[in-house]
């Protein structure tokens, strides 16, 4: 049976590859614009270390398909409809074969007002290594612990700009639980839980209405820019809490939380100073956390056209071991080399060091366009040293090297 499913997956994988090379189109008239595009991607992932759990594999092939449609109409193209789909077909692990609607929403704007309704992604914050304040969308845990990969969130969103900044009001519902890969998937934590059926605090379960409010602004004085955001969220936590029930079986819980966030970014010359802080309150506990850091860009190094960005960030989070990505007392050092060449060649490297327990992880990414429609990405993620106190301890042998080829259509 399993092998049948596998064969099926490979077939669909091939189909997606072929279909994905399909068409892209752009139509424009004075009152209506439509734009169809997106990409197909093939991944080969290799795990050099022996698997920690039985049924896991030392490599995996997968295909990824992301169709995108944009429609705009009316005077000044005030109305728009955006769709971004997502489908990954994985050779192993049926959990990792998954689809999602990343965005599907209607948008209308007039003067300084903007309204949108549907499934959307909203990003808050300035830090690179850790997104503490960013609470609206759930991580896509099936995408290999990539903090930039998030699931679509249903919402109604109103935004209004004033002289003193922008106010955003969001009404959300349909909580998206954090889902990890199944038995055969990698990287994954120990045990395979029913991530899609967690316990929610309160009566309404995942349908509980949630609310978020944010005030943000950018100020420019004497060659210094200050960006800031002040936000509050009430609803179910995005980070699950693992608890043992009476029979000592682990259960997944999403608490109701009030989370306030503050974001600051000071830009001057080649430097960006960043701060993000949160206060998170649940019935169980009230905790604080912050990220503080600097990004410094050395442009056009020795007239080569290459930019070198250096990032240093420190995270403190009172939640400690509860934090899934392990950032509780961690120092991150990163570098971004941008060649600014025709092929947009880019190399990113990051190293994280836990000051509590010496846990060390690294991440290296390389990107380069090939021709007009292809892009190559190489990613290496390593868990050099992981303390048994960390959630990541369960993933400690899941270092991987991934080769990805994108085709944009």
């Amino acid at each position: 049976m399993k092998s049948l499913i596998r064969k099926g997956n490979l077939l669909i994988l091939l189909f997606v590859g072929v279909y994905g090379t399909g068409f892209s189109q752009e139509k424009t008239s004075t009152n209506f614009t439509s734009n169809i595009g997106g990409y197909t991607r093939f991944d080969i992932q290799v795990f050099p270390k022996n698997a920690l759990y039985s049924n896991q594999h030392s490599s995996n092939i997968s295909a990824y398909y992301q169709p995108e449609v944009e429609l705009e109409w009316g005077k000044k193209k005030r109305h728009s409809l955006s769709f971004k789909g997502f489908l990954r077909i994985s050779q192993y692990d049926n959990q990792s074969t998954h689809a999602d609607i990343r965005t599907l929403y209607y948008n209308y704007y007039i003067k300084d007002w903007e309204f949108s309704f549907g499934v959307k992604k909203v990003f808050w914050g300035f830090a690179e290594s850790n997104h503490l304040v960013d609470i609206i969308n759930q991580y896509d845990g099936l995408e290999g612990f990539d903090i930039e990969q998030k699931l679509g969130q249903p919402m109604a969103h109103i935004s209004k700009s004033f002289k003193w900044g922008t106010l955003d009001l969001l009404g959300l519902t349909y909580h998206r639980p954090l889902v990890f890969p199944g038995e055969e998937g990698r990287p994954r934590p120990q045990g395979v839980l029913n991530y899609k059926k967690p316990d929610y605090e309160g009566k309404h379960g995942r349908y509980r209405p949630e609310v978020a409010l944010r005030w943000s602004n950018s100020v420019y004085i004497n060659n210094v820019s200050l960006d800031f955001g002040l936000s509050h969220f009430y609803g179910h936590s995005r980070v699950p809490f693992f608890k043992l029930d009476q029979n000592y079986n682990p259960t997944i819980q999403y608490e109701l939380i009030n989370q306030s966030g503050l974001e600051l970014q000071l830009a001057s010359g080649a430097s960006l100073l960043k701060f993000e802080g949160i206060r998170r309150e649940s019935k169980r506990e009230t905790t604080f956390g912050y990220v503080i850091g600097e990004e410094y860009t050395i442009s056009n190094v020795k007239n080569s056209g290459v930019d070198l960005g250096l990032i240093a960030e420190y995270t403190y989070d009172q939640r400690g071991g509860e934090v899934i990505n392990g950032f509780d007392n961690d120092l991150f050092i990163g570098a971004r080399v941008t060649a600014n060449d025709i092929n947009s060649t880019e190399l990113i490297a990051g190293y994280t060091f836990d000051l509590n327990d010496n846990t060390q992880t690294y991440l290296v990414k390389f990107n380069r366009r090939i021709g007009d429609n292809w892009k190559l990405n190489l990613t290496a993620l390593g868990y050099t040293k992981v303390s048994s106190k960390q959630f990541l301890y369960q993933l400690r042998r899941d270092d991987f090297l991934r080769f990805s080829m994108y085709y944009y259509f």
Binding site: S24, T33, N35, G37, Y39, E70, E72, K76, K77, S80, T103, N107, Y109, K111, D112, E114, K121, V122, F123, F126, E148, S159, S161, T166, S216, S218, Y220, N222, N223, S225, D227, Q265, A267, G269, A270, S271, L272, E295, T297, S299, N300, N303, G305, V306, D307, N340, D341, I342, N343, S344, R369, D372, N373, K375, Y406, Y408, F409
Partner: protein
């Protein structure tokens, strides 16, 4: 209302032209020529344009990049601009928003559609290449008089037209150039040619403006800008099309919300 504004701008421009012209004849300094040129091309308010960039390498291989953009003049300060990348496809939908300032560093943001995030870019150093082309960031965007010191060097010829040659020296320490030599057309003040000298004072690039058209019977705009790197033989041709002046745009179209939604 709009026409009144335009007439007023025209009168103001003519007046200031007159005043400056008299100053120019008495002093003949380079800065005034630059100012006159800048002022003769100011007052357009808002614009939208489509751009095609053709990059040619030493072997003659060509790469094409497409963009479109919106611009707005800001009284007493630099322009606001929004550039949307159309090709190559992997960067399609990426938007760059720049608020240029007359006397200080520009402000710049980038919207990255893949992660649906707006990022501020430190733009104090603009000497690097724009999208792998022969244009540096400092070569594109609005030219602010205050960002250079000037020296008049005499008459010359470019594109078959009689010109005034003005040397300008960037005040920014991070500029890639020691100096530029700008050729201003004697008849209509428009720029015909710029020679860029690197920090070692060697000729690095030449930029030729061509296919000038007169818009609103006031503004000369070149449809073609050809930059040739004299040191490595590479070349970039920037072509403008569908230029529209006085389009319906306001401050709200140059906000972070607009940056996220503009297509």
């Amino acid at each position: 209302m709009k026409t009144t504004f335009k007439t007023l701008t025209k009168i103001a421009t003519t007046l200031s032209l007159g005043i400056l012209l008299s100053a120019f004849t008495s002093d003949n300094s380079g800065k005034e020529i630059a100012k006159l040129s800048k002022e003769s091309s100011s007052g357009w308010g808002t614009s939208s344009v489509t751009m095609t960039m053709t990059l040619t390498n030493r072997n003659g291989q060509k790469t094409i990049r497409k963009m479109h953009g919106y611009n707005m003049e800001v009284a007493q300060d630099g322009d606001k601009s929004m550039t949307i990348f159309d090709t190559p496809k992997d960067v399609k939908g990426t938007v760059s928003m720049t608020f240029s300032h007359r006397k200080s560093d520009d402000e710049q943001w980038l919207y990255l559609p893949a992660i649906q995030r707006v990022k501020r870019i430190s733009s104090s150093n603009k000497s690097g290449p724009f999208m792998g082309s022969e244009f540096a960031f400092e070569d594109i965007g609005s030219i602010e008089i205050e960002k250079y010191t000037y020296n008049y060097i005499g008459e010359g010829e470019a594109n078959g037209a009689k010109c005034e040659k003005v040397e300008r020296f960037p005040t920014s320490k991070t500029s890639g150039y020691k100096r530029n030599v700008v050729y201003y057309n004697k008849d209509n003040r428009r720029i015909e040619r710029i020679e860029f000298y690197d920090r070692k004072n060697t000729l690095l690039k030449t930029l030729v403006y061509s296919d000038y058209k007169l818009y609103d019977s006031t503004f000369w705009r070149a449809d073609k800008l050809n930059m040739v790197n004299q040191q490595n033989g590479k070349e970039t041709l920037l072509e403008f099309s569908d230029l529209k002046l006085g389009v319906e745009l306001s401050e709200d179209d140059f906000s972070q919300n607009a940056l996220k939604r503009v297509k």
